[in-house]
């Protein structure tokens, strides 16, 4: 399967004396639905002799029962601890013999298991991946060890200013709904999760009909499809439950969470509000709008003032409406000015169209970023996973680029008015409260969290 070349003038205004642009080609993506309902999305690339296999399921924190916060992360991690055929040691020995990497992860919507290995070992990778998914044994001793490790990681996160800011920002936006919970769970819940709960979560959420297999690297699609169909036969056929509705609390004003870290060398800031779901028809144009905002903020806060080294601004992809977030670590004395700058620039975008030249620069930048994301590696895998998980159309990549190309100042002005809400925004600031209190006084409400409350912040 080949894809047509894109228009060669993706970057109008070629460089001085430069050769004419060559057309980019998007990766040739193969999409299949195998027996049992398994969705497969693949792209072949022979740059290096590696293959990445990524299985994802609708088994993220969104699907955890109340009182079971941490269950998703615990269950997916436990896949490595043995199957009906192999012990944890057997799995580790076999994988390490081949130099393979196995990783598991739970996010808010999905849980994932990933194997990366030499392409010559493809059949082992496919077989092991589906064996872990289909028939994990969940040994009690292993679950206990994983529980202790997850609790330890929660403690680690509670000492990291960036993690603290992330956690409270999510809480500010989503309250007690699933997207407001920490991915690793809560101390109180983790202590009570038992083997039965893990096994039940696996039974309910790890069936083939909800599963996607994403693969990128040096292999042939036909061979991989045959291996997957054969290895996946042992997986359960239960249809996944529908994702629970997510209704975040409305933000009626500008609310700041001030997390007191008296000795912090800088302040970790998060500012924003609930955005849109990944499937929103104007997602590309919204990312362009956020790119314009991000570039203005970076110019002001970094290049003109030196307040920060790194600033990020984006609509975050989720199954339901994900956050719109501006993230930065700033000098403690500049946190207030940063928050005001964010609000001011968002307001400006709601009031004035983006000048065409500025929009063109942001568009070129974002288009370049997007095209580079199809290089081999984790970026390509992420793009393929988006197709699979959000059931995006075959021509999604080309549509996304078209969305960037067609977004004009009038459209961005409308989108800013619909989707930027600087007066109804949440701010999370993790830094020395003594100096931050006055700086955040311009927010309508400031909630202070003492250092002692941080270890169990969402319990």
């Amino acid at each position: 399967m080949t894809t047509p070349a894109l228009e060669p003038d993706l970057f109008p205004g070629a460089g001085p004396g430069g050769a004419p642009p060559r057309a980019h080609r998007l990766p040739a993506v193969v999409r299949l639905r195998l027996d049992g309902g398994l969705k497969v999305v693949m792209a072949e690339d022979d740059t290096v002799p590696l293959v990445q296999l990524h299985a994802a399921l609708p088994a993220g924190t969104r699907f955890e029962p109340r009182g079971g916060e941490g269950l998703a992360a615990l269950t997916i991690a436990a896949l490595r601890e043995g199957t009906a055929r192999r012990s944890a040691d057997d799995i580790d020995e076999a994988a390490e013999e081949l130099g393979a990497d196995i990783a598991t992860h739970a996010d808010w919507d999905m849980s994932s298991a990933l194997i990366e290995l030499l392409s010559s070992d493809l059949s082992f990778g496919v077989e092991l991946l589906f064996e872990m998914l289909a028939a994990p044994s969940f040994p009690a001793a292993s679950l206990e060890r994983l529980r202790r490790r997850q609790l330890a990681r929660l403690r680690q996160q509670s000492s990291a200013p960036g993690e603290i800011a992330d956690r409270w920002f999510a809480r500010a936006l989503y309250g007690e709904t699933a997207y407001g919970r920490p991915l690793l769970g809560r101390h109180s819940a983790l202590r009570t999760i038992d083997r039965d709960a893990v096994a039940e979560f696996h039974r309910a959420h790890f069936g083939l009909p909800g599963m996607v297999l994403v693969a990128a690297g040096s292999f042939r699609a036909g061979q991989l499809a045959r291996l997957a169909e054969s290895s996946a036969a042992a997986c359960a056929r239960a249809a996944p439950p529908a994702p629970p509705a997510l209704e975040p609390p409305a933000l009626g004003h500008k609310r700041a969470f001030l997390l007191d870290l008296p000795h912090a060398a800088q302040t970790e800031l998060r500012a924003g509000h609930v955005g849109v779901a990944r499937g929103h028809p104007e997602f590309a144009a919204l990312q362009l709008l956020s790119a314009v905002l991000g570039r203005r903020l970076k110019r002001r806060l970094r290049e003109e003032c030196g307040y920060t080294y790194h600033l990020r601004c984006r609509f975050i992809s989720r199954g339901a409406a994900g956050p719109f977030a501006v993230s930065a670590a700033v000098g403690n004395e500049h946190a207030g000015e940063t928050v005001r700058a964010v609000a001011r620039e968002m307001e400006r975008l709601r009031e004035e169209p983006v000048p065409a030249a500025e929009l063109g620069v942001a568009r070129n930048y974002l288009t370049g970023v997007y095209l580079r994301s199809f290089q081999p590696g984790h970026e390509l895998l992420t793009q393929l996973k988006l197709l699979a998980v959000h059931d995006l159309a075959d021509d999604h990549f080309a549509c996304y680029l078209r969305g960037l190309a067609e977004a004009d100042p009038a459209r961005l002005l409308r989108l800013a008015r619909e989707h930027f809400h600087p007066r109804r925004m949440a701010v999370a600031a993790a830094g020395p409260a003594a100096g931050l209190r006055a700086q955040l006084a311009g927010c309508d409400e400031v909630v202070e969290i003492e250092a002692g409350g941080l270890d169990a912040p969402c319990d």
């Binding site: 970057f11 205004g13 070629a14 460089g15 001085p16 004396g17 430069g18 050769a19 642009p21 060559r22 057309a23 980019h24 022979d46 740059t47 290096v48 002799p49 590696l50 944890a88 040691d89 580790d92 020995e93 994988a95 390490e96 081949l98 130099g99 990497d101 990366e116 290995l117 030499l118 010559s120 202790r148 609790l151 330890a152 403690r155 680690q156 000492s159 990291a160 200013p161 040096s218 042939r220 800088q266 110019r299 290049e303 003032c305 030196g306 307040y307 920060t308 080294y309 790194h310 670590a329 000098g331 620069v361 070129n364 930048y365 288009t367 370049g368 095209l371 580079r372 290089q375 590696g377």
Partner: protein, 430 residues
Amino acid sequence: MTATSTECAAPRVEQFTLANRMRVYVRREGAAPLVALHIGYAAGSRSEPARLCGLAHVCEHVAGLAPPGAAAQTYSELIEGCGGIANGSTSHEQLCFSAVLPSHQLTLGLRVEASRMARPAEGLTDAALDVQRGVVVQEYGSRVGNRPYGRSFELVQRSLYPPEHPYHWPAGGLPASVANISRREVETFFRANLAPDKAVLILVGDVPPGAAGEVERLFGSIPPGDGGADGGFGEVAQRPRGVAARRESYEDRVPFARVHLASTAPGFGEDGWYAASLWLRSLAVGRTSPLQKRLVRERGVAQEVGAQMVTMRDASTAALVATAAPGVGPRLLEEALRDALREILSEGITEARLARARKKALTDHFSTIRRVDQRAQFIATSAAFRDDPSPPVEDHYRRLSAADVSAAGRSLFGAEDYAALSIVPRGGEV
């Protein structure tokens, strides 16, 4: 046909040197119309006086500012505006600038680098320098100062390398010294270091046919500097041996203690470097590795244990790192780590374990050269450090026997003349 063997058929790297002694490497490859441009100057933190720790890093940031009259404030903005992405980095060895561009925009990228080389501090004001110093200080905060265990590497280096050694102080600088760097010092650094004879230029990807001519046209007239020995790096920085069993402890806002045992290893690309890399992998990478088995699973004193090797040109820093399990203090963890190390050193590495480590080293290597910019960086480092843009990595690993790798381990940690650094929770609570 898939790449079914571990051999990765690599396109040839073309090489030429301009009259001003700038070395250029070009590798044409790839289907995508992208080109990676990477220029590395032998002007990292080893080129700065110790009292001006951070000068090279500040210069990296200053060199990102476009000259007055340019169409944008920074070179990055110019490159981003044409669909590219740009970055700068400072290590102990090099000051690097890199970009990935649509291939038809290569000329713009080359013009940016030529402009940067020819007139790096043009129009620099004290106010502009002040802003960049502020950014460098915030970068330190993000990467080091405001992160749990963030200072680990900085402290390990300080422990292993004597104060006068160029690897002693951190390449990124320290906030206190960065704050005192003056415009005159920046200008002096640029004059001495941003010169073609201290630079290697790498182009990888869809490189247009006329690229060599463009390079000559844009860079050829820039006069060379004083050069200096050995590719501009100056005298070899001797690898210190025997740190007299130094032990240090440092408090941080962390919930668990962390112990580092660190030693100096051979520099990038030396035979001993490959052996050390395999030894570290065989020791600590993977759940079946000897250290993980002993410390995490059998004794339960660590929640994680791993190995790191930070590579410089004339030496590397090899470290074993263990994070304590809840309730375990740093002393107990350190003793357990030392005991495990002694046992493993006396047992040696088996051929079976070496085979695993070798395979892991190769998959790691391949995963770090997947993207066009990664390949450019690899070529840049190899060319600058070892004058070999395409080292036969797989051959190097395959040639080594279990006896070679065991000997490498004994050389690193056998005489117990290594440094031990503990990061402990503030107030001593565990």
